[in-house]
Structures are given as structure tokens and as C-alpha cells.
């Protein structure tokens, strides 16, 4: 009896021993900075150190009142909405086209996947050269075809869309890959049953293909939206962090923290954004869960 109690206590210590180091690291690297940055968000802490003091809620007041913060939030929302929307539609369309038998399918798939495997910052610089209004290859081709030569990265009406276009070019393959996986996961017998029922192609797409691939597509949307929300590399490479028409959340944060050195203000802005993102993500996850539940409950 005594031996068994000892063994139990030893097992308990072993559990803590195994989990402990990871837990300490997690607290040191994640939990502590998180709590410390909440504290910093109420101060005038500076990047180059030195004493700082409390500012009360002034940082949060600045974030809510200064137009540039709302502007960056709006730019990011539009960017995420358009980028993820276009990538979803194009990626799904490509997946549908590649689902069947196709000559050189592995080669086509590999080529399509190349953009998303390249570093974003490098691609930003590469596209900046391609889109250069004076010597970029795109305008040279357009010129040779006697077409207009838009100023892709300097025209205020175009520079945001140029960054959007690069993002779509890079990340459509990701959507395509997940969409292809979701399409391949739909059992063939369902399509065969639909064929026996003489369902039209549109009905098959609307009633079988789309709803059955929705959960995986939803996951892809969530992953891409999270990633697009952090858009930084392309903005930095193409227009820099301080251009009002292309300034995303991350670019503004970089400007505030690393250029202006205002760590406290940057922390407060991050927390406002974090609350917004958590709220949106929660709504989306609940919607996805409801969709999955509905699918499970639907008659076979």
C-alpha cells in the first residue's frame, strides 16, 4: 500500500518533470511577453530603452481617435476580403479543372505550386522590378503590343491592387491545393448516385461538390485570412511602411514601433487589433462548426 503511494507520487513528479521544461519555456516566451506588453500598452515605453511612465489610457485614446489607425485597419480588411475571396474562387476553379485526368498533371501541379514556395519578401522585390513603370518587363510587353502602360506601383489608384495581385499570384496555389484535397475526399459513389438520378452538372456542383468541400475550404479561408491579416513583406517591398494607400496593420505597427520607437503605443494598437481578430475568428469558427454539424445531421 505504502509502496503504491510512493510509486504514485513518483509518477506525479515524473509528469511534472516531463512537462515542466516546456511549460517554463512557454511561460517565458509567450505568457510573460503577452502580460508584459499589456503593461507596456499603458506606458510611454521607447524602443531605445530608458525610463518610462504610465500614460493611463492615452495610448488607447490615440489609437481610437487618430485617423491613420482606422485607415490601416480598413486597408487590411479590404485586402484580406479581396485577397482571400479572389484566391478562393480562383483556387477552387483550378482545383475543379485539375480534378479529372489531365495530360502532364504532376508537372502542371508542380509549376502551379512554385509561387507559394518562394519567400514573400523576395517575391515583393521581384514583382517591384516586373511592375516598374519605366523599365519593368510587364510595361515593355504592353508597350510592344501598343497597349497602355499603367504605373503599377506609383499610381495611387493602382498600387494597392498591384500588391493584391502579387498576393493572389502567390497564394492561389495554396487554396487550389486544399480545394483539390477536399474534392478528392468526396466519395465517387455519391457522384454515381447523382448520375443515376440524372442530376444536372450545376445541381451536382451546388448540392454535392460545394457543400462537401466546404469544411476544408473554410479551414483554408481561415488559414489564409490569418496570414493575409499579417501582410507585411509585400507592402514593405513594394511601397514601404508609410504609404497611406497601402499601409496595412503590420506596416503601421512597424512604423510606430521600429521607426518612431513608440513601443507603448504599438502595444496598445496590437491589443485593439487582437481583440478584433479574436472576435472575428470566433464568429467564423462557430459558423464552421455549425456548418459541419448541419452536414453530419443531413440524411445520407
Amino acid at each position: 500500500m505504502v509502496n503504491s503511494a510512493k510509486r504514485g507520487r513518483r509518477r506525479d513528479w515524473m509528469k511534472y518533470g516531463f512537462v515542466g521544461p516546456a511549460l517554463v519555456l512557454l511561460i517565458a516566451m509567450n505568457v510573460f511577453p503577452l502580460i508584459y506588453s499589456i503593461f507596456l500598452s499603458f506606458t510611454n515605453a521607447d524602443l531605445i530603452g530608458g525610463d518610462y511612465e504610465s500614460r493611463g489610457g492615452l495610448n488607447y485614446k490615440v489609437v481610437f481617435l487618430a485617423a491613420k489607425y482606422a485607415g490601416a485597419l480598413r486597408t487590411t480588411a479590404v485586402f484580406v476580403g479581396l485577397a482571400v475571396g479572389i484566391e478562393l474562387v480562383l483556387g477552387f476553379a483550378l482545383a475543379l479543372a485539375l480534378k479529372g485526368r489531365l495530360l502532364l498533371k504532376p508537372v502542371v501541379l508542380t509549376v502551379l505550386l512554385v509561387p507559394m514556395m518562394l519567400p514573400q519578401a523576395v517575391m515583393g522585390l521581384y514583382w517591384k522590378l516586373v511592375l516598374n513603370g519605366n523599365y519593368g518587363i510587364l510595361n515593355q510587353i504592353l508597350g510592344a503590343l501598343h497597349l497602355g502602360q499603367p504605373q503599377w506601383i506609383t499610381d495611387p489608384a493602382l498600387k494597392f491592387f498591384s500588391i493584391l495581385m502579387i498576393d493572389v499570384w502567390m497564394w492561389t496555389p495554396f487554396m487550389m491545393l486544399i480545394a483539390l484535397a477536399s474534392l478528392n475526399a468526396i466519395p465517387n459513389y455519391i457522384y454515381e448516385a447523382a448520375a443515376i438520378d440524372r442530376a444536372s452538372k450545376w445541381t451536382v456542383f451546388r448540392r454535392i461538390t460545394l457543400p462537401m468541400s466546404a469544411p476544408l475550404l473554410g479551414l483554408a479561408v481561415l488559414l489564409r485570412a490569418t496570414d493575409a491579416l499579417k501582410q507585411f513583406d509585400l507592402v514593405m517591398a513594394v511601397s514601404g511602411p508609410n504609404d497611406a494607400t497601402t499601409q496595412t496593420l503590420s506596416a503601421l505597427l512597424y512604423q510606430v514601433v521600429f521607426r518612431d520607437g513608440k513601443v507603448g503605443l504599438g502595444a496598445s494598437y496590437s491589443y485593439v487589433v487582437l481583440v478584433l481578430v479574436i472576435a472575428l475568428a470566433s464568429i467564423f469558427i462557430r459558423y464552421m462548426a455549425a456548418l459541419q454539424k448541419k452536414q453530419k445531421e443531413a440524411p445520407a
Binding site: I153, T154, P156, G240, A244
Partner: protein, 433 residues
């Protein structure tokens, strides 16, 4: 036994070598990546020959130079002994205890009267004109125009210009003359353009490009004593200056609304543009490539007012290094400021001096085709705010000036926004009472 003796001797040799290596003296200088920094590295070899102190110049690409320097200042000890800091940084460096104060030392090491007064004021002192030194001159720089001399001297062009404007085609002394010449050479169908001014959205491009218009039209960023901004940067004169600047975009190559230091260099080198504004250190490359097809003129005036953006950098010693390293850094700066060393310094591409004796010499004027214009430009140098919150002020001006040139806001709206936000920043920083 013998093997052990050999091993011990080997370890002793390594230790001796290590000790000797540890005794080697060196200083590390951080600067942006460009020709003058490469020149400084070369010049540093002379210092090493004379003193035995090695000089390492660490070059950082311009777009990330500012951010890397101030991130490094966040450490307990900086990786550099000397930073060649932009003129606007001096307020932050001085008031935050990052730059070593040189007020007592500099006048003993360098004859201050030989430093061009504008360079001393904007590159070395904080507050400007206070006599408190936090830097010594390194690269004294100014803006100026490079132009196509061969186009200006072409007989057919001269005749056509005279017929259209009723005067000779010569380099412009006023902005109105400049506009006429830009309009005259604007021929997009021939891929020929009138001018390219500075409007880059990176670190400080558009702000530096706007300043000559601001000052020449008789306006300013604000009152340097009271830090009052309203009524200065958004005065009718400032609005008129920005409107004029914007009107020049009609005569630029495509993308001229965002032209930066590097793209201006490109549009001139590709032979498409008649007159291009840039800082003088970019010009040795143009001269090397285009020879006597090009020449230079000073930034034009409006009436009797002329203002030119200063672009130089000074040597500042980090406070976050040991006293011994600070002494070595001082030794290097004192050596660098000697006339004999300055004479060699100006022979490196894009390297300019603040030494008045050299600036006035025929030797300097004849050394490069842009030197005489550079020397004449120094008397008109002015600078952006160099207060500790310069970077926030700069971010605001970059943003709204960009919106004005992009047509998102009118020049008046943009300058009103700048005045409003600059005033808030000044208030928050405790500068404006």
C-alpha cells in the same frame, strides 16, 4: 613526455596569439551603404598605418539604416563606436543620452572656425546654434540639379526655346525659369522628359524634395524657438510652394510622383530626362558614365529666396561603449578633420567636406565638375526638424505630402493635416507649450 611538451608549446602559442589579438585596437563605424562609406573604409587604412588602430566601416543598406542603428541603441552596448548619423537624428541622440557630448572636446581637436557654419549648425550642434556639440562633420551634403548640357547647347534647341519663350536657353536661376525649361523638354512621344524632382515615399524622400519649395516660397516647417507650427507649414506661401511642386509632375517621366534618390539617378542615366534633382554624392557615377554631356546647377530660387535641403551626416560617438573605445573614436575623428586628411577624403567618389578653406580652393572647384555648384549651395542649406521626435514628424510629412502629390488631398488639406499632427507631436513631446 615529448608529445606533452609539444602540446603545451602549441597551447602557449595559441594563448599568446589570442592575447596579441586581444590587444589589437580597432574602431567600428556604422554608415549607410554608398560610395562615401566605401571611401571612408579606404581612408581608414591610412589611419591604421599611422596609429595602428584598425577602422572597420560596417555598411547597411539605406532603407534599413535608421531602423538598425536605433535598434542597436536599444542594447546595453552598441556594436559600433561611431555612427555616421543623419542630421535629423542629432536631437534624439543628444537628448536620449545616445550620443556622447563633444562640446568641450571638439573645439580643442578641430578649429571650429574652419567648419562651414551651416554644417556646424545642422550636423554638429543640438539645439542648432547652441554651441553644444554632439557630432563632428563627416559627409557634408546638399541637393543640386544635374542637367543635359548637350541638349542645352544644341543650336536647334536653343533657337526653338528662344522663339517660344523669348530668352536664351540657359540653366535656370528661378523656379519659373525651371518650369519653362521642363515644359520645353517634355516630349513623351520621343521618350524625353523635362525634369524629375524628389517625391519618394521611403524614409525622407518627398519631404527633402518639398523643402526647397517650402523655403523658397518664404514658408517654413515652424518657429524654431517656440515650435509653433500652425500658420507656418500651412501658410498660403507653403500651399503655393506645394502647388508649384505638384505642377512640375506634368513634366516628369512616368512614375515621377514617387521618384526617389535612386530612381532619379536611373532616369538621368537612361538619357530620358533633361534636369534631375538629387544629392551630390550620386553625381560621380553620372559623370563617370555620361562625361561632358552633363553639368550641374544650384537649386533655383523664388525671387530672392533660395532654400536647399541639407543631406549630410556627422560622426557621433556612442555613449554605450567603454571609455577606452570612446577615446579611440575621438582620436579617429580628430585625425579625420585635419586639412591634409580632408584633402584626401574629397578625392573619394561622392565624398564632400565642410572645411571652408578647402571649399574655397581652386583645387576643390576643379577636382570635379559639380564641386563649384556644391560649394555655392552650402550657403543656402537648411534642414528639417532635428528634435527628438523628428521621426514622427517625418512620417507625418511623408504621408500627407505623398497624398497631395497623388491627388488624394489638395495641397492645402495635406499641409493643414501636417500642421495639425505636427503640433500634436510637438505638444506631446513637451516642446510646444
Amino acid at each position: 613526455m615529448k608529445t606533452w611538451s609539444v602540446r603545451l608549446a602549441f597551447v602557449a602559442l595559441i594563448l599568446m596569439g589570442h592575447t596579441a589579438y586581444g590587444q589589437e585596437k580597432s574602431i567600428t563605424i556604422w554608415w549607410a551603404q554608398w560610395d562615401p562609406a566605401a571611401g571612408l573604409q579606404e581612408l581608414g587604412k591610412d589611419f591604421e598605418k599611422e596609429t595602428g588602430i584598425a577602422v572597420k566601416v560596417h555598411q547597411i543598406p539605406w532603407p534599413s539604416y535608421h531602423d538598425q542603428v536605433f535598434l542597436n541603441f536599444g542594447n546595453k552596448q552598441t556594436d559600433f563606436d561611431i555612427v555616421v548619423g543623419d542630421s535629423q537624428w542629432i536631437g534624439r541622440g543628444a537628448t536620449r543620452g545616445l550620443y556622447l557630448e563633444l562640446t568641450d572636446w571638439l573645439p580643442q581637436a578641430v578649429d571650429i572656425s574652419t567648419i562651414h557654419p551651416r554644417a556646424a549648425r545642422y550636423l554638429c550642434e543640438y539645439p542648432a546654434g547652441s554651441g553644444k556639440f554632439f557630432a563632428a562633420p563627416c559627409e557634408t551634403d546638399a541637393m543640386g540639379f544635374v542637367y543635359r548640357k548637350d541638349w542645352f547647347e544644341d543650336a536647334a534647341e536653343k533657337a526653338a526655346f528662344k522663339e517660344k519663350y523669348g530668352r536664351e536657353l540657359t540653366t535656370p536661376d528661378t523656379w519659373d525659369e525651371f518650369r519653362d525649361i521642363a515644359e520645353f523638354f517634355q516630349r513623351p512621344e520621343e521618350k524625353r522628359y523635362g525634369c524629375s524632382i524628389l517625391a519618394g515615399r521611403g524614409y525622407d524622400g518627398i519631404t527633402m524634395g518639398f523643402q526647397p519649395f517650402l523655403w523658397s516660397w518664404g514658408a517654413s516647417w515652424g518657429d524654431a524657438q517656440t515650435y509653433q507650427v500652425q500658420g507656418h507649414v500651412n501658410s498660403p506661401a507653403a500651399v503655393a510652394g506645394l502647388e508649384f511642386m505638384k505642377s512640375l509632375l506634368e513634366f516628369t517621366p512616368p512614375g515621377g510622383n514617387m521618384a526617389d534618390y535612386f530612381s532619379n539617378n536611373d532616369v538621368f542615366l537612361n538619357g530620358s530626362t533633361a534636369m534631375v534633382l538629387d544629392y551630390f554624392p550620386f553625381y560621380p557615377g553620372i559623370v563617370a558614365s555620361m562625361g561632358d554631356k552633363v553639368d550641374f546647377f544650384m537649386v533655383p530660387a523664388k525671387g530672392d529666396k533660395r532654400g536647399i535641403s541639407l543631406g549630410g551626416q556627422g560622426f557621433s560617438i556612442s555613449t554605450k561603449i567603454s571609455k577606452e573605445q570612446q577615446e579611440l573614436a575621438k582620436q579617429f575623428i580628430a585625425w579625420f578633420e585635419q586639412v591634409r586628411v580632408q584633402k584626401k577624403w574629397i578625392t573619394f567618389p561622392g565624398s564632400f567636406t565642410a572645411n571652408t578653406e578647402l571649399l574655397a580652393s581652386a583645387e576643390f572647384a576643379e577636382a570635379a565638375p559639380f564641386n563649384a555648384t556644391f560649394a555655392a549651395s552650402l550657403d543656402y542649406l537648411q534642414d528639417f526638424w532635428n528634435v527628438p521626435v523628428y521621426n514622427e514628424l517625418l512620417a507625418v510629412s511623408q504621408r500627407y505630402l505623398g497624398e497631395a502629390l497623388d491627388g488624394v488631398k489638395t495641397p492645402k488639406e495635406a499641409l493643414d493635416h501636417i500642421a495639425e499632427e505636427h503640433e500634436l507631436i510637438m505638444l506631446e513631446a513637451g516642446l510646444l507649450k
